[in-house]
Symmetry: C2
Subunit: 285 residues, 2 copies
Amino acid sequence: MKIEKVLIVGLGLIGGSYAKGFTKNNIKVYAIDRDKKTIDYAIENNIIIDGITEPSKEYLENFDIIIFALYPKTFLEFIEKYKSNIKSGTKIFDVSGIKKSLVPRINELLDNSIEFIPTHPMAGREVYGIENADENIFINANYIITKTEKNTKNGIELAKEIAKILKFKNISILSLDEHDEMIAFLSQLTHCIAITLMACKDSTHLAEYTGDSFRDLTRIANINKDMWTELFLLNKEHLVKEMNNFITKFIEFKDMIESENIQKIKEIMQISKDRRIHFNKEIGD
Amino acid sequence: MKIEKVLIVGLGLIGGSYAKGFTKNNIKVYAIDRDKKTIDYAIENNIIIDGITEPSKEYLENFDIIIFALYPKTFLEFIEKYKSNIKSGTKIFDVSGIKKSLVPRINELLDNSIEFIPTHPMAGREVYGIENADENIFINANYIITKTEKNTKNGIELAKEIAKILKFKNISILSLDEHDEMIAFLSQLTHCIAITLMACKDSTHLAEYTGDSFRDLTRIANINKDMWTELFLLNKEHLVKEMNNFITKFIEFKDMIESENIQKIKEIMQISKDRRIHFNKEIGD
């Protein structure tokens, strides 16, 4: 399946990075973004061929593949408003960080002739906007397809093709619920920890004493607060469960330290060490 | 003050990296390590000029500067056993990650003619031993001198000179207690969090889905369990206080998510974001 032309809706960091990656691979990229300056920037910098700010039927019907790189709620609003402008047979993709509270609602709105293949590129940066877009963030990163009963073999193959073009390493297929549970633990819990570490006391005077461990743990605290608040609340159930589990285990570990249970402390450290090995990237960890 | 010759006791990662840094700056480096193979390796690789495994009086009295790169308890044992082998007028330094439970005990043991300047280079790696020694870990890192009433102007100047030779960026002077409180928050708490994150459930099957945030937060979970257990317990009071504070704030944040208090969540995220800026390194963050 050869991809020749795509439409990207939303040219933020992820949409812009997709656009750069596709363009680099000689795919014709078009875009919709509500900000005219973003469209102008992307055209001037040869990131896209052309773009518009208002999703007209005449424009949308030129595309068989549309990728939505929007916040979940904005994506939902777009589909509610413009679904009738999307032509039959179009395959649409997203990049949303939560799935269960979004995907069924999108599918309910869409005509059966339009296939929605939900995907989540596990990559990002702590900076935003088209100016910071960088196709290299996808190299060796993980790409998740959350398959639903509405997906065809062709649709899934197309998602895989997108991942390959953008140089993702692992392509996985998960259910919506498996995805959201995993993301609550691996991504949302870690962001909650980083935020709490920065917020729990005014440590700014400590910056000149710090080693790398505190920097590593709090890098992601430089957070896009609108996006992450939306993501946390849309996955509240799983996230609160993971936070509670973490609190329980953290208190257990604190008790071991308080009671100087050296054997138990070392056991936990060994488990931690053994498991961490699995998370090393082949390159650049 | 020109340093011409030093003796390093303990050629692990930090001692070995000190040795490499000094040698690179044409300082004559000698070493004591109980492992003959380590000494042989360091001589063969031109990291030191010469070394021994047993700290004899004849050897020790050749040095005006001795740097102890040992675990705190091993350092204490060394001083207890060999203090009479150290000649009058010698200045000694350490690299220990805790100070209050160690420094006064060392000073009690030492003759007043020997000056102990406690220092903490805030650098490390998640690998160990002379084979992994790398003088570049000190570049732009922080270096802390924990001054006591026994320290002379000359002693402090010498500590600063060592930091400059090794290319540390910030040199700070703290009290023993200020150091231990700071280290409990910036370093020990973060290690406890990383360990708990890895230990709190078997997440190894999730590795293929992970993004960088989980990797960043758990990199330090690949821990030297003997050393860190020792450090945690020697600083138990401060560490448990910081862990309790973190737990309180983390639960507060969880409550905001559960009750969907969007305004409060965004406020905390903004505080977190604003503070994190202070921790950016000029190079390579």
